[in-house]
Symmetry: C2
Subunit: 681 residues, 2 copies
């Protein structure tokens, strides 16, 4: 190791330690153990810190996100717009340096911290690169050939989501993925031998990865450099197991006490002395370290991007159509006119399951939107997620049909992995719109990833079929009850439950048009009629009056399969001389974004409102005075029998409506949209 | 294979096929492929169908629960109270034979269907057996030595939850666990080679399992029997890979079309003919098959239980204390007087984090309740879940300290696996009360298992610390927002958020006393004062008036850390001459079970109610007119700064209260507990 490299590594270590000490909060152990490998990876990475969005940059993912101080040190030293003052504000409210990596900070590819997500996102980043390269590279033009680098810890390897994603990465032969496993023998509970004694190397070989092992990860820079070279030659993803000592150099090194608590003052002092730094000074970067990274990495990176820009210019001349498509995608815009491909329906069209209508929609747009990349967690034939136009995404020599230009991913029965991979695909850029299918009930398996879609603003789409007791015989293990309430309560997440074909189109129109908001589209297994009062334009407001009634005495607000039922209920009421308006509210999140005037025109003061949905009533009080739902688990039986059992029939609806009218008779009725106060932030 | 065994296997196949055909719904493929191995496993299993609760019975788990028709056939043939008429009612509303295995049916150990859960439950069943045996067996008395058998498919192996649980099972050397992997190369998306090409044998070897492989799983009964014998001699858990042809004998055998759709009439006809049955008859069981299983399995099983009872009688004489404990546990009762061990507090006691109060409580009861078996997903030092009395549950020759009599499980960073394992421990019987710790935000990783705890009625307890923005610096990736709304919306699930020590005791009192309801106990990272108005007796009602006020103009209802804040808010209001009652509502589920009279005494008509909780407002309209919460993601910073940022201060509370009083002035105010109609089922 050259002197300057040693100096640079020491700077990374101490900047990280100083951040944690100043904040008196954070994780110094991993940065100390990982500074050497981080230096090695970043030094050779291809990126331009002046343009963090350059599409052919190498990606870096810190899957053990709690080591974020390390990442902030790197971003600062490698020229990203993160100042020493930002580092000093580590973990303070409103800073650019929050307690775990958040993707809005330039240079941070994905938000990590929740373990297992980062490595799984990285699989998505690698898939996207392969697909992008396969679609656009030409024999004489390599537009895309970046790598995705990952550092992950024991915790990530223990998480099931990572197992799912890594098994798939092996199958897909993603040799653009290079992961360093920080084998430091320590987790929060102490030595990993209390719970984690599996043979990790063998497990990853079993997945189809190439595995290397570096025994002195703290010092053997040469071995790390060689391992990187070898990994780049592999035809498989590579896991480089790096045996390290956590908190290397600290008096506490090798113990779990150094994992998540700041080093004590005397420990920092001895560490700085040992590394040849002035123990009285904090946040020190020797000028030669700045200069070194500038010369070794930053300037070459800028040059690489310039060369790429020149390459793309010649490409544009030779392949103007593809170049136009790339340029459009990089601008984040869908192909113009794509909305016109969305089907619309009238009441005379056939009754169909909304999952079937979703399939027809995908057939109609799949070829037109090349950034659409779909898949299913092994429920393709049930979710109906595979467009007729689709080719499977598979390596060239896979046992199954397909190629890397394919845009349909066979995720296997790996819902959580699928969710995290979709986030990674989205994070790649190039306007990728990832969608994935499973049963609505099993989106919950992926809750950890869905939450991060919403937090990071990845506009991925869950095609969540079999959305209620309407799935029938599979019974309560498969029938969602709490699922929509859970996801509706998640910030920045659209949760559509369309009632017919027009509403399916509206859901996809808004979902695919979203730049920073993910969507779940809950779809029925059973057939539903095309509604007379629906339209794409109305439904894309998230809520609207689907059946008006003069002098309505009650409003029935429903979603999905219950909208047509509510209309039947309104007809039953009409037969008794009672006038009822029916409102369809396919997505609360979108509805909430409409003007208050509009929302109050749909759900006004003065009329009592009943919500109707065959799921939990939780959450519906936001839009209704009374709630008709199912606050218990479902039942196995024919769908029609189960609906009857829960009294979801026209008469059951009418009965609740009449009780509601009676209950509110003589009261001043305020719309639930009118509140004493509103959220301030 | 003898003629009678062939006949028996054919009977299993055809009973299963007939169920699916009659229901015109279900999965015939797996039962046809698995009838031979199912016969082999069940024939040698030790159980007494007349007493499905016998504690030393062998357990069987069908992890690929969609093959449930197979299980119903077995239960019928092996003497459980499931009649041919029950089989004819397969998948009908109200039948004893729902679409997936549900644990209430006698002989079904755990509810399965959601993939990956069953094998993970089985790990829990095996852990419980090891612990039970280590505690109670004596050199001269083997009270517990049962096996847990599992059949699982490709889908289970792809699920992350299974990876987590199986890695831990290998670490724990659970040689009482024998799993058959139905290697049929088919999942719903077709051939497994589209997504699942890993080397499963090698993966399981890496986990520390013994792996065997039987190449002709449809016919090689001899090999299956030998494999079972070998597995029983292993010192590791065993995976027996069984290569089979799905739908074996059907015209569609080997294709995914036989997975989830009934066989056609002509296919059933040819199958029955091929197997020597009358194609005109359905649901046929030859008398010799009944006789055979009766003689080979049922009668020996009854005898085994009788012998066990005699053994336990002598054991009781020699080890009366242990026997008394066992008898008590088998009756499902906790040790008398255990509630008196729960700490109580007065306002002069020190302010402490509720996670710390939870630790003190566990210290106080852990030794007194031998069925308590705890753990953490690698956050022991943060969750504070390990009683000082605890020994780790570890195999004798493990690298880490502990033994099988230990009652503290180091789960590793495996939240979903932990949840599913806790369900299995609970399903073992003997009154096991499993609890497990993680951060509240990461209980969501285990949503699939939590849902099954609730659906199956496993009274497990999640010790969910770091329950809000109050965790501070770790930031939005770790701060729950939607989490409590999600779990409160789940049927049959208690979600406690205690405000102080008395409420922590109440939460545990109700949670551990529950026989069929799981609990999540959300605990603070930060210190909270002991409240003047709290008591265990009040809090165990789920909600109560913690601070009364004469002629209250507003009610502030809060949970956890916001109860003391609400009291401060009430004081700020009092200073302005406004009278406010404060209600603590630590568990909505428990509160809902109180009499309406009581609930209305807490939240009466006539006074406007504001809820105060630093989480989503979703769900709070059930108990309040106005909601003060956080309907966005959190922020990284010092906890006190973050609270201020979201205006959760005494003044912030008072401000919302005043606005609420103003808004409702002159209106008739109806308690949200009074509804126009109520749930009927």
């Amino acid at each position: 190791m050259s002197d300057i490299e040693e100096r640079a590594i020491s700077t990374i270590k101490l900047l990280s330690v100083d951040q944690v000490a100043k904040a008196n909060s954070g994780h110094p152990g991993a940065p100390l153990g990982l500074a050497t490998v981080a230096h090695a990876i970043w030094k050779q990475m291809r990126f331009n810190p002046k343009n963090p969005d350059w599409i052919n940059r190498d990606r870096f993912v810190l899957s053990n996100g709690h080591a974020v101080a390390l990442l902030y040190s790197l971003l600062h030293l490698f020229g990203y717009p993160l100042t020493i003052d930002d580092l000093k504000n580590f973990r303070q409210l409103g800073s650019k340096t929050p307690g775990h990596p958040e993707a809005e900070t330039p240079g941070i590819e994905v938000t990590t911290g929740p373990l297992g997500q980062g490595i799984s996102n990285a699989v998505g980043l690698a898939i996207a690169q392969k697909q992008f390269a396969a679609r656009y590279n030409k024999p004489d033009f390599t537009l895309s050939d970046n790598y995705t680098y990952v550092i992950l810890g024991d915790g990530c390897l223990q998480e099931g989501v990572a197992s799912e994603a890594c098994s798939l990465a092996g199958h897909l032969q993603l040799n653009n993925l290079i992961a360093f496993y920080d084998d430091n023998h320590i987790t929060i509970d102490g030595n990993t031998n209390v719970s984690f004694t599996e043979d990790v190397n063998k497990r990853f070989e079993a997945y189809g990865w190439e595995v290397q092992w570096i025994k002195d990860g703290n010092n053997d820079l040469n071995a790390i450099n060689k391992a990187l070279e070898q990994a780049k030659k592999s035809n498989k993803p590579t896991l480089i197991r790096l045996t390290t000592i956590i908190g290397y150099g600290s008096l506490q090194q090798g113990s779990h006490s150094v994992h998540g608590s700041p080093l004590k003052a005397d420990d920092i002092k001895q560490l700085k002395e040992k590394l040849g730094f002035n123990p009285e000074e904090n946040f020190v970067v020797p000028q030669e370290v700045y200069d070194y990274y500038n010369k070794e990495t930053i300037q070459p990176g800028q040059k690489l991007e310039e060369e790429w820009n020149a390459l793309f210019k010649s490409y544009s001349e030779k392949y103007p159509e593809q170049a136009k498509e790339i340029t459009r995608r990089l601008s984040g815009e869908l192909p113009s006119g794509w909305e016109e491909k969305l089907p619309s329906y009238t009441k005379d069209d056939k009754a169909l399951a909304t999952r079937k209508l979703s399939e027809m929609l995908l057939d109609s747009i799949f070829d037109y939107i090349p950034e659409l990349i779909g898949g299913s967690a092994d429920l393709t034939g049930s979710n109906l997620t595979r467009s007729k136009e689709a080719t499977d995404f598979q390596p060239d020599d896979a046992p199954a049909e397909g190629n890397y230009a394919g845009r349909y991913i066979r995720y296997g029965v790996r819902e959580h992995g699928m969710g995290a991979i979709m986030n990674g695909i989205s994070a790649f850029g190039a306007n990728y719109k990832a969608y994935g299918g499973t049963f609505l009930n099993f989106v919950s398996y992926a809750a950890g990833a869905v939450r991060l879609s919403a937090l990071s603003g990845h506009p991925v789409v869950w095609v969540a079929t079999h959305d209620s007791i309407g799935l029938g015989e599979d019974g309560p293990t498969h029938q969602p009850i709490e699922t929509l309430a859970h996801f509706r309560a998640t910030p920045n997440l659209k949760v559509w439950r369309p009632a017919d074909g027009n509403e399916v189109s509206a859901a996809y129109k808004v979902a695919l048009g979203s730049k920073h908001t993910p969507s779940i589209i809950a779809l029925s297994r059973q057939n539903l009629p095309q509604l007379e009062g629906s339209s794409v334009a109305k439904a894309e407001k998230g809520g609207y009056v689907v059946k008006e009634a003069a002098d309505a005495q009650v409003i029935l607000v429903a979603t999905g399969s219950e909208v047509s039922l509510a209309i039947e209920g309104a007809e039953a009421l009409a037969a008794k001389g009672v006038s009822a308006r029916v409102v369809s509210l396919p997505d609360q999140h979108t509805f909430d974004q409409q003007s208050k005037e509009y929302r109050l025109s749909v759900l006004p003061d003065g009329i009592p409102i009943v919500s109707i949905e065959v799921l939990t009533t939780t959450g519906w009080a936001k839009y209704s005075h009374e709630q008709f739902g199912i606050d218990r688990f479902g039942a196995s039986g024919k769908a029609s029998d189960v609906y009857k059992f829960f009294e979801f029939t026209a008469d059951g609806v009418a009965d609740r409506a009449l009780k509601t009218i009676e209950f509110y008779k003589g009261s001043k009725i305020v719309s639930p949209l009118n509140k004493a106060f509103y959220s301030v932030v």
